[in-house]
Symmetry: C2
Subunit: 407 residues, 2 copies
């Protein structure tokens, strides 16, 4: 008897997590000889536990599946549910009973670190209990922090958003070039600075903005920062500085935590300040120059206008490749990206042991960070440029992007 | 002897203020029989006073002028310089001596209210002193608040950015739809809510997010707001609310000023809070629901990815039309947009007395605001939809937009 497929999405959304979903579902639906039904779990493993399951087949007929491919965010909904470390916990038999109930033979989970942790635990439980369900992880994260893979789907489009937006912010900041100013742009990334590093791509010429870039990988010193800003203002009247939200002093204290002695709001809550806001106040206080901070909003992870075709195509291809690997008998694996060593950019899809990936974190190599911790070197530029290339035509109506959504 | 043309940009940048510059310059350069030289003033009238003038002709040969057309921000730089009310002030003869020095016969100023004030004063001074220099204003403002014109260049692209971005924020906010949440989006607009109203276009279906929209035109009541949010959360688990930065109590107090009793930052400065942040704290305190606020960054006025072709084309056309009107002898006028009454969208360019435009403000009509001040009616949608239509192909390299810049 043919088994069924189930696929879910987990963790924060990206611009291409739905492209991976498209890849899994369209590949599975195309293999009618191998699979019976293709299910989606709504709100990940948490929703599945509550019986939130949908049949994906009708989406193909209605054309919705094609629209899903270019829709940002998680079509199936997401969750932040961590399975217990203890494989003896009662949630495991409960889950596997539900798998049996739906005739599941193949389980695909699209996500980052935590999602790979889910795949790891389920595959280990399966091995322990002799279940033949195959568990495959499909990578996703704008943070680009998964190990054993050249990069992760979602990063390329987010990097393109950051580079393009910082270029536009710099243009905007430069219009009053008869007056000095500092613009601080805070970019997502708590522990890994990949996305902030992508702001280097915003430069139109050597010496252009952003003139200073700070990642969490380097210990951040506020006095050095002030002297960097002072020096940079000599060359650039309207300075743009990019920082990761996670910049820290190298001893475990985030820069945003330095603002801990601030007041309370009208309602008696402690005012929370981001790293950008803290540095804005610091520059205002110490350098007395016009300064503002900008927090790139959630669109850095969900902009359809900034989709990279490379990113989107790879996301879909890794989903489809996951289905092939599961059919070939693999389990407990994550689909990883291996970059060819030739001149031209080429990616091969491979599988890696998911147990070696979950709960690990890949940061930007120290030697790619230059300028005494305030700049990004050409190695990163060569690494990142191919990932942001290519334009995606998103279906539009009335000048606005059309998105798929669950009814 | 043929006279020369000078053109400047003033006030905040927009995505299409350079398209207007392109319109003026390319039209003037095409009329070699009528004009000798075409100058740009760098940093507006303030820069001109300091002798910052550039010859625009070489930009045509180098191809830079074509690139200027799709470059956001002010290519020539901007200023916020207000000419004195007193036409007896010594700055006026000083300016007109400089005009004579450069052989200026035609003066074009691209900007909003304040820039039209400059055109008004210069043309009145010219009339008073018998100068034959012709002064023409080319409209520009994302705020869409100029009177005697259907709309202003810059608004369409900004509205497209707001609608598209809010649609993406809503998609992003919806992924954890098993948990209630409120996302408050703060949009530019101190006194006029046109841009915030454009967030209504983000809805994919009736009843979709943003479920609540508040403009500065309606007195904002925090208790009514809380009860609106409470009611909306019953229907929509992940609520998106859009507000203008300028929402106020109708008696002159901005909502962001209500947070005046907050503490000081680490450096002893009073913490400044936006309206969105204030309401975020209010919702957290009173409703105890998960809530965040997002301030759309400066890209709402300078996104090249969200250029509306209608907006861009009209910006360029109004610049070119300004040149034709000046040649025909007009002065002290602003180029205005008149919408045809037919079924299909059509704009005619006309001239209006600049003295009637400067220092006036057009707000969203009360009857276009519905839902007891928390929604936008179909009149606005019909008004705004044509303005955001059409895609602009921005030249790209390595996946990023190419912009013109002064060397």
């Amino acid at each position: 008897m043919k088994k069924n497929v189930i696929v879910g999405q987990s963790g924060g959304p990206t611009a291409v997590i739905n492209a991976s979903l498209y890849g899994v579902v369209s590949e599975a639906l195309a293999k009618e000889a191998d699979f019976e039904k293709v299910y989606g779990m709504v709100n990940g493993i948490e929703g599945f536990l509550n019986g939130q399951v949908m049949d994906m087949k009708p989406l193909e007929k209605s054309g919705e599946l094609t629209l899903i491919r270019t829709t940002p965010g998680s079509y199936l909904g997401s969750c932040r549910y961590k399975l217990p470390e203890d494989l003896e916990d009662q949630v495991y038999p409960e889950l596997f009973e539900k798998f049996a109930e739906y005739g599941i033979g193949y389980f695909f989970y699209i996500g980052g670190n935590d999602s790979m942790d889910t795949v790891s635990k389920l595959s280990r439980y399966a091995e322990k209990t002799g279940s033949d369900i195959r568990f495959i992880g499909i990578p996703k994260t704008i943070d680009n922090d998964l190990v054993h893979t050249d990069h992760t789907p979602g990063f390329g489009s987010a990097a393109k958003y950051v580079a393009s937006t910082v270029r536009e912010i710099a243009v905007d900041a430069s219009v009053y070039d008869n007056k000095k100013s500092v613009t601080i742009v805070e970019i997502m990334g708590r522990h890994a600075g990949w996305l902030t590093a992508a702001s280097v791509l915003a430069r139109k010429f050597e010496g252009d903005n952003p003139a200073l870039i700070y990642l969490p990988e380097t210990a951040f010193d506020t006095e050095k920062f002030l002297s960097d800003v002072r020096a940079a203002l000599e060359k650039t009247a309207n300075l743009v500085v990019c920082i990761s939200e996670g910049i820290n002093d190298g001893k475990g204290t985030f820069i945003c935590e330095l603002a801990s002695d601030v007041g309370v709001d009208t309602f008696g809550h402690k005012m929370l300040t981001g790293s950008g806001k803290y540095l804005e106040n610091l520059v205002k206080d110490r350098l007395g120059v016009k300064v503002r901070s900008i927090e790139l909003n959630v669109c850095q992870r969900c902009s359809s206008a900034m989709l990279s075709d490379t990113d989107l195509s790879e996301a879909a291809a890794s989903g489809a490749y996951g289905v092939k690997c599961a059919l070939a008998g693999e389990t407990g694996k994550m689909i990883a990206f291996r970059r060819g060593s030739g001149e031209a950019y080429r990616i091969d899809y491979v599988t890696e042991d998911v147990n070696l990936i979950c709960n690990e974190e890949k940061t930007v190599p120290a030697e790619w960070i230059t300028g005494n911790g305030s700049d990004i070197g050409k190695e990163f530029i060569e690494y990142a440029l191919p990932l942001i290339r290519g334009k995606v035509e998103v279906p539009k109506k009335d000048g606005l992007p059309l998105f798929a959504y669950r009814r």
